[in-house]
Point group: C2
Chain length 208, copies 2
DNA sequence: TGCTAAGCGGAGGGAGCCTCCGTATAGTAA
DNA sequence: TTACTATACGGAGGCTCCCTCCGCTTAGCA
């Protein structure tokens, strides 16, 4: 969950020097609205694309414009928050799947989750690109997190002999992401291609 | 020179089926304004970035808003026109250089011209990306044109024994473009890197 | 020289972004 | 429970930008 304005201070007060262990209390209503806005933004971006108006997002979230801007002073802050939240969800999905499912099912569930994530980025690639430019760490940190999550479920399946071992998490992510973000690949084709990748992943490498 | 609304018809009339040999007469003032707008847009985009206002561009061009929209009904049409014009300039530069200069100087001059072109794209990469999405042919056609131009000057230098022969136009473009579009590379560093590439290009391949 | 298709230009409607500030309330202390 | 206040809410309104519309102007032609 990303809370750019956490700390509740006025916009003018310096926020850079706060002690990290004491993230300053946030009122329950503020926290709830923050989550509502991110959830609404995800929905509206998916429906209307990344250029959707802030008014529409605030309305969908059921909050006023003023509240919106208190939480996300710049539009880019919102894009970033939605993205961070998506990436965090993927990390969580990896942990949950690993706890609850057998190794192959956990891997498959995570990969489908990742495919959903990647597909959802198609509608606001430009905005995301801008967010990356605005904050270079965002890209590298997220990439790292995703790679770790993928490796987590993949390694478990590999150790159980359920997935081929000549591929790593990064490879897999690089293989699936483009298939999902490419706008010329339709939904049905996308699903078929990912199924094929999964089948390949399940197969032992052919002797060269 | 790109003239999206050439033919002077109403916006509603279909423009896709025109005969290429008879581009329908365009009044001299219209042609002049079209060129003025593209030139102004290049200047304003370079100074203010791709999100510069259309008002600013029209003002720089010395034309009214109405005139602007007669020439470029959508903002994206302008981005496309500027880009096409840039690419055409590169083609022209290749031909001119080949006529006027010795093979190596022609190659070098074209490559510096290409570097300028690529650098100028940094300020409106997002807009360009949008234009490519809007019109997929734009990307492939432009890439092809640039590749041809580069090959034209490169081949001449190679035939004269002034440039190594184990590299082709596409390679060279792919090598230089990222160095120029990368926003983390400063102007001075950029120049040094390109000089180094040029030196490498002049050198015979080392035996492996 | 006069005609007219083509082009010019800017007022103004509409939409979106963001600020400002009066009102409401969660959390706390007594 | 009550009273207090730091924190948060919300929307009117100012600003900017996009684009349309339509009356005025003029290049090019007969």
């Amino acid at each position: 969950m990303s809370v750019p304005n956490a700390g509740g201070g006025e916009t003018k007060s310096p926020a850079g020097t706060c002690e990290p262990e004491e993230p300053r209390h946030m009122r329950a209503d503020a926290k709830r609205n923050n989550e509502l806005i991110i959830e609404a933004a995800r929905k509206v971006f998916a429906g209307q694309g990344g250029s959707a108006s802030i008014e529409a997002i605030a309305k969908e979230a059921g909050v006023g414009i003023g509240t919106f801007y208190r939480h996300f002073p710049k539009r880019i802050n919102l894009v970033e928050a939605v993205y961070r939240d998506d990436v965090d969800s993927l990390s969580q999905l990896a942990s949950e799947s690993a706890e609850q499912l057998d190794p192959w099912d956990a891997l498959e569930r995570w990969l489908w989750g990742f495919a959903d994530y990647a597909r959802s980025k198609r509608t606001f690639l430009n905005e995301l690109h801008e967010a990356f430019e605005n904050n270079p760490d965002l890209r590298s940190n997220s990439r790292e997190k995703i790679s770790v999550s993928c490796s987590q479920v993949l390694a478990r399946a590999q150790e159980a002999g359920m997935a081929r071992s000549d591929i790593n998490g990064d490879d897999l992510v690089q293989l699936i992401a483009p298939v999902c973000t490419n706008t010329t690949i339709g939904g049905e084709q996308n699903t078929r291609l990912i199924r094929m990748i999964l089948d390949g992943l399940k197969t032992l490498p052919s002797p060269s």
